[in-house]
């Protein structure tokens, strides 16, 4: 490298402050929250810090909408970050899950034990990482983003410091997450080695230009990077950590991970595969399709025998990741839109389900066990309905958003000549009925006697996660309200999906390199 280049590289990059403002809101919010929380007063801890967190997230949402603009991506930090509707749209999902998490965590044991400043500060930090990840334009920022996302989450998983399973969950996530990150980093290095570029546009043009698409260096790089991202998105066969970590982590953190982390992982999978590597789609598509199939089967079969709701939702999350991966595989604009649409509705239906789990585990002696829902239909219909709607939606029944989402994904696969992948989604949905319907049966159709034969529960039923005797059993209106809103949104977007289609359509304009 000659001196001129060095000087040029040393110059400060051009920064678009308008574009980067949502990130500032989140990162600034994290700092402010940490500082304010140094005052240990009850008012500060219980009211002010959560309010500041909500304020930061609200500001970020507002600034995101202010920045909304369809069309090509716009660099905000030259060569490192750029925003387009894909980044903006998905970051809305991060902020929304952050808001939901504030409500879910407000009365949780985890918050009390770890201190609300630390808890919410870490959460905002993680969201900042997701944000960077979604707008990364460069392999280096990609990696920075993924680490910034992950490290706070490792801590959050272990934030219920007096419960062994929470610590175990944090440690497990740390070890496996680091392996995933290392694999990813290794893959990124290979891709750089093969193409000589770290920015996505450069990689894409180099591949079209002078790098042979069968270059083993490139293919190894893609494979390793895919494996690393598959860890984050809990795609089989890299999903093994998911049930354990989800089960052990405080449930609000689980809910956040299930939705936001998955969305972030898909953001970068979409960017890497459907933008940087889209020219070699023929090379990676069959491999990714195979991963999708394995994920759908493994996730759905794994969920069948679960008696813990959190484990069940973890496995179901694995399966759902498989469906969304199918949308990535086709590599078309329709596929991108369908994936983004599914990610958006995944927020609503999953948060509704987790809300019910949280509300129940705080009062039920069965914790997050299936039994904690027994007879909920007559005991507490306001909780039973959101769970029912969430399960029906995850299973893909019409009049819920899940049906439209599956319809969209299947039509994207058929349209991209991957019809058999659409059939796999359908087969996965069939298997999933067994466990989704079981939850509904437990709530409404008592007295129930459905034991899955041959599969013993993995552990004795005992209070886990956020349960604590001092949690006020009856009054947690914020969880109920959020859960009801999420369930209502699931129904609403099942009947009037157009607003989400507009979002998906705008997002679809962002990656211009895609096949139409």
């Amino acid at each position: 490298m000659n001196t001129l280049n060095v000087i040029a590289a040393a110059k400060a990059p051009v920064i678009d402050y308008k574009g980067i403002s949502p990130l500032f809101a989140i990162a600034g919010g994290a700092v402010i929250v940490l500082i304010v929380a140094l005052f240990r007063g009850r008012f500060v801890q219980r009211v002010l810090v959560p309010l500041l967190t909500v304020g930061a997230l609200g500001a970020a949402i507002g600034l995101t909408i202010w920045n909304w603009q369809t069309g090509d991506s716009k660099p905000i930090v030259e060569g490192a970050l750029s925003i387009d509707t894909l980044a903006l749209g998905l970051s809305l999902i991060f902020y929304a899950s952050g808001l939901v998490m504030v409500a879910f965590a407000w009365r949780s044991v985890a918050l009390r034990e770890s201190g609300s400043g630390e808890f919410f500060g870490l959460m905002l930090g993680s969201i900042a990482g997701m944000n960077i990840l979604a707008s990364a334009e460069n392999l280096v920022t990609l990696f920075v983003g993924i680490e910034l996302l992950s490290i706070p989450l490792y801590v959050l998983c272990a934030s219920e410091v007096r419960r062994e399973t929470s610590l175990e969950s944090g440690l497990k996530y740390l070890v496996i997450g680091s392996v995933g990150s290392a694999t990813l980093l290794y893959g990124l290095a290979f891709i750089y080695g093969a193409t000589g570029h770290t920015d996505f546009a450069g990689i894409s043009s180099a591949i079209g230009d002078r790098v042979d698409i069968t270059d083993p260096l490139l293919l190894t790089g893609i494979g390793l990077a895919a494996a690393g991202l598959a860890f984050k998105a809990s795609v089989a066969p890299f999903h093994a950590w998911t049930p354990d970590v989800y089960e052990g982590a405080p449930t609000p953190v689980t809910a956040f991970m299930a939705v936001a982390t998955k969305t972030a992982a898909f953001a970068i999978i979409l960017r890497l595969f459907d933008e940087a590597l889209v020219t070699v789609q023929v090379q990676w598509a069959p491999a990714l399709a195979a991963l999708a199939v394995v994920t759908i089967i493994v996730g759905n079969v794994g969920a069948i025998g679960q008696n813990s709701l959190k484990r069940m939702l973890a496995w179901s999350g694995v399966a759902q990741a498989g469906y969304m991966l199918a949308g990535v595989v086709v590599g078309t604009k329709l596929g991108l839109q369908a994936t983004v649409f599914y990610l958006a509705i995944y927020l609503f239906m999953n948060m509704a389900a987790f809300g019910v789990v949280i509300a129940r585990e705080r009062v039920s002696e069965h914790g997050d066990g299936m039994k904690s829902l027994e007879g909920l239909g007559s005991a507490s219909p306001l909780l039973a309905w959101p769970m029912t709607i969430a399960m029906l939606s995850l299973a893909g029944f019409p009049a819920t958003a899940g049906f439209i989402g599956k319809f969209y994904l299947i039509s994207a696969t058929v349209d991209g000549n991957w019809a058999w992948l659409g059939v796999m989604i359908v087969i996965g949905s069939m298997i999933s009925l067994v466990y989704y319907l079981r939850v509904i049966a437990v709530m409404w159709m008592n007295p129930l006697k459905i034991e899955v034969p041959g599969l013993r529960p993995r552990r004795e039923v005992r209070p886990v996660a956020g349960w604590s005797p001092e949690a006020d059993p009856r009054r947690q209106p914020e969880v109920l309200v959020v859960t009801l809103i999420m369930a209502a949104a699931t129904i609403f977007f099942g009947i009037v999906p157009s607003p989400l289609f507009h979002l998906a359509h705008d997002v679809g304009t962002s990656l211009s390199s895609l096949f139409t």
């Binding site: 439209i404 039509s411 059939v423 009925l433 319907l437 049966a441 159709m445 157009s498 289609f501």
Partner: protein, 492 residues
Amino acid sequence: MTVHLSIILFLPAVAGLVAMFFPRDWAGWTLVTGSVLTLAYAIVMLARFKTGGGMQFVTDDNWISELGIRYQLGVDGLNLFLVMLTALLWVPASIAFAVRGWDRPHLFAFFMGLGETAVLGAFMAQDLGLFVAFFDLMLVPFYFLVGMWGGEDRVYATTKLVIYTLVGSLLMLAAAVALGVMSTPDGGHISFSFATLAQHPLSAGSQYWLFLLFAFAFLVKAPIFPLHGWMPDAYRQAPLPVILVFSAVVSKVGVYGFLRIVLPLLPQASVHFQELMLAIAVVSILYGSVLAFSQDDTRLIVGYSSIAQLGFILLGIFSLDSKGGQGAVMQMVNHGLVVAPLFLIIGYLAIRAQERDSLDWMGGMAFRAPVLAGVFLIVALATLAMPGSANFVGELYILFGTLQSKIVYGLVASVGVVLAAVYMIRFFQRAMHGRAGVHAESRDLALGPELAVIAPLVLVILALGVYPNFLLHRINAFAPVAQNAAQVALKK
């Protein structure tokens, strides 16, 4: 006054929703009011229906333009009487629900209303996406209705029912999406409207596998041998008002799908698989009849006889002959009309036999119950297609059609007509005559609710027996539309 199909469609669901907010004792009657209003409006529609007028009362709006799904409803000679049948039979079903005390009546009313809306939607939809949505939506209320208010093994029964049916439905979902996407010309906007889809026929190869997926879904729904595995459990466990509409109306959605979707949109495949479907139909007729003869559970007698009857309907459809198709539509209506009173009678018999459904607990019940016996006899004779009943005309048309196109299947199926007489007469005799059951009580129909519910249905059966042309004229004009497509393919 123009007739708005949306009102017919959503009135029941709205009534169910309203019932949720009324006091417990009123929930049932709110639903009854809703279904009566729906029926009244449907009768207005029938009066304004122009025979030979093509698709009428069309509602056509954008629903999800991004997916090409339109909110498109319409009524023609194919679905006119199926819509009427649904509106009619939900009335006795909701009365049967209202007169008995149930646990959690609010939810029962809500799901019954939602169920009617879903079935009506499936019948009226003129867009494949909309049809699939309503077809799958039907499962939700019935899942809860069977699972919450059924017998001992209700959870097992309802899980089996839903998994069986939804496996079919999901395969159909894949097939429907594929059909829509593949028929879209390059660069064209995707559309699922039946009319548009019919204009862009697919290649024979694609038609074959799509046909199999659709057929699977419809055969499970009907149910037709060999995909009837869910039927015995569901029929035994479901509460009476639910199984009444399920057997009489919901089962017709399956066979209706063949006429509305499979024959017009997949004509070559329909011809290709004609013999297979005819064979399935004939086996269904014989299998259903033999099993209906050997059952002691009254619900299963009717259940297996339905398999046989639906076999007949399938036979008519896949005779690919206009007479056969017309007979099939007619028989759908007829079968619904006789099954509903049969289930009401089963309910009455069970009340008089210590809440048992088994024939062993019955017998000699006609002794002090001449009206019950008379009503039962009329319904039984209509079921076995006695000359003079509308069922006779329907079966005759089906057999004519089949004999014309595939004589062997027609001859074998004729045996089924005889078998129907055998099992229905056995049912009637063992319940009403012979040695009186030890605990059976011979008590006539109460003049109040019992007779009031069943009498109108019997009158409709009698009226159609006297004047079957009322059906034939209106069906006449349109069932062939579907058949024509298949005929074209046949000649090629």
